[in-house]
């Protein structure tokens, strides 16, 4: 861990980790359970082995984990399919349902601010001849229900709307959307990678048919996820991975016991500790936002109230995002989403909210988690305020703004 330096003066380890929506460390209690499923003294057996106790022991742990995951979303454990993560779950759900139900219709609806795991899967289906509607959200990031209603045709077979947006943290009104889907006999898929431990999920209350989950956003290990597949009324899928017929044929491949046990334990803890953690995290988030919201030309992206407690996505006008991230190098944060920050494009999520390119370019995402401390938040406020002031002194746009020039009236030389 050579990159992590102890800042003696502030008694903090820098860079301060404020990127919990990107991934989380594994909870020590989770790691301890996982470690029991690896070595020859542990439960290492193949859960598909029916002829000896090594297999049975493994199967028992997997069964408990399945129950823990089901509990968190109010499902039956027989409705949980293990996958490698939310990306695979999204692929299996959307392609699997589209292929199975293609005789019923060829139209799918989603949101332009979905994760790439959904958007890219939809693009792939378009290349196979399916018709996809990408709805833009309102400027607060939430779905416009009327627009969604109007987009439905007699050909619509599936609607995919995420629960919590990974960049701006807004929570969609799944209850209303789920009701709409059920009334129109449309399959409702939800990417819920960002929900566990942050916001309550109830597949029955929300009429969800398919739900993608991931362990590593909720203090579980990377490389494991799940897909919820409704039994009543039964939702069918065409398998994407063929082989030994594991997971009732939906997803072949030997089950990784240690990973599954890790996910199960992480979700069990999330269920118990969510409320307390969220109270503390929200307090820290509010402190952080209050620490710099009164600076000039600072914008919060996405609705403040319909939002998970740990997320702040902020645009500092007249400052370019990458230079801001460089300036706050003692903080681990992201500009746009981590999956796309290798490109120079501004965030497609912020663009879809109708934010100007300038504001989309100047955004950073700060996400707080259960290991964040008050000292870290104090440090972050100081660092952000100082960096913004410094970079604005460097910014010709800030100078023009201060001189009262309307930047929209300037004829720029695009390059």
């Amino acid at each position: 861990m050579s990159a992590i330096i102890k800042d003696k003066k502030n008694n903090l380890s820098v860079p301060i980790y404020l990127d919990y929506s990107s991934t989380t460390p594994v909870d020590e209690r989770v790691a301890a359970k996982m470690a029991e499923c690896l070595t020859k003294e542990g439960v290492f057996g193949n859960p598909a082995s029916r002829s000896h106790s090594y297999g049975w022991d493994s199967e028992k742990l997997i069964d408990e984990a399945r129950q823990n995951v089901a509990n968190l979303i109010n499902a039956d454990k027989r409705e949980i399919i293990w996958t490698s993560g939310a990306t695979e779950s999204d692929n299996l759900a959307i392609k699997g349902a589209a292929h199975f139900y293609k005789d019923r219709g060829n139209h799918l609806i989603t949101l332009s601010t979905e994760h790439k795991a959904v958007l890219d899967t939809m693009r792939h289906l378009e290349s196979e001849g399916f018709d996809v509607t990408y709805l833009d959200p309102q400027d607060n990031g939430l779905v416009n229900i009327e627009e969604l209603k109007n987009a439905i045709t007699d050909q619509t077979i599936l609607i995919s709307i995420m629960h919590v947006n990974n960049e701006i943290g807004v929570i969609q009104d799944l209850e209303t959307i789920g009701k709409l889907c059920r009334e129109n006999k449309i399959i409702f898929h939800v990417d819920a990678a960002q929900s566990p431990g942050k916001v309550k999920m109830d597949v029955d209350k929300f009429n969800v048919d398919l739900l993608a989950l991931s362990a590593h956003k909720a203090y579980g290990p990377k490389g494991i996820g799940a897909l919820y597949v409704r039994r009543k009324p039964r939702v069918r899928l065409e398998a994407q991975m063929h082989g030994g017929g594991h997971e009732r044929g939906f997803r072949s491949g030997t089950l990784p016991t240690h990973q599954i046990v890790g996910m199960g334990e992480a979700f069990r803890l999330a269920d118990i500790e969510m409320e307390e953690d969220n109270k503390r995290i929200k307090k820290l988030r509010d402190k952080l936002w209050n620490g710099f919201k009164d600076m000039e030309e600072v914008y919060l992206n996405g609705d403040l109230n319909q939002r998970i407690p740990g997320n702040l996505n902020v645009s500092f006008n007249f400052i370019e995002g990458e230079s801001l991230i460089m300036a706050v190098k003692d903080m681990a944060v992201s500009s746009g989403s981590a999956c796309t920050s290798a490109s120079l494009e501004p965030s497609y999520v912020l663009r879809a909210l109708g934010r100007d390119d300038e504001l989309a370019h100047s955004s950073i995402r700060l996400t707080i988690g259960k290991y964040t401390t008050e000292e870290e938040i104090d440090y972050a406020i100081k660092l952000i305020s100082e960096s913004v002031t410094k970079l604005r002194e460097l910014s010709p746009l800030w100078e023009m703004y201060k001189d009262g020039i309307d930047l929209k009236s300037v004829k720029w030389s695009a390059h």
């Binding site: 370019e320 501004p346 010709p396 100078e399 720029w412």
Partner: protein
């Protein structure tokens, strides 16, 4: 993104930040780029009666490489004649700062900025 030490040095300690009065006849101003593209550079040169750039200032909205490219440029143009300054190439800047390929456009913008500043100065003198 891993930046070179030279980029980091210019980014952390930018040289010649500021502005001259752009109405002054001895000042040439070049403003290039666009906010929507994520880069805007403003470069100003102060030219004496012998046609030598006496002083230079910049302000840049953009990534670390864009800030470093314009900071370096202000150092290089000082003491040069307009003709000498116009010969600075983006490749010289990119090489000096060891810019990665995705950041070459920052050095191109810096080259555009110096030529725009020289043009502005010459227009004022006509």
């Amino acid at each position: 993104m891993a930046y070179s030490n030279k980029v980091l040095d210019h980014y952390e300690n930018p040289r010649n930040v500021g502005s001259f009065d752009k109405e002054d006849v001895s000042v040439g101003t070049g403003m290039v780029g666009a906010p929507a593209c994520g880069d805007v550079m403003k470069l100003q040169i102060k030219v004496n009666d012998e046609g030598i750039i006496e002083d230079a200032k910049f302000k840049t909205y953009g990534c670390g490489s864009a800030i470093a490219s314009s900071s370096l440029l202000t150092e290089w143009v000082k003491g040069k004649s307009l003709t000498e300054a116009s010969l600075i190439k983006n490749t010289d800047i990119a090489e000096e700062l060891a810019l990665p390929p995705v950041k070459i456009h920052c050095s191109v913008l810096a080259e555009d900025a110096i030529s725009a500043a020289i043009d502005d100065y010459k227009k004022k003198r006509k």
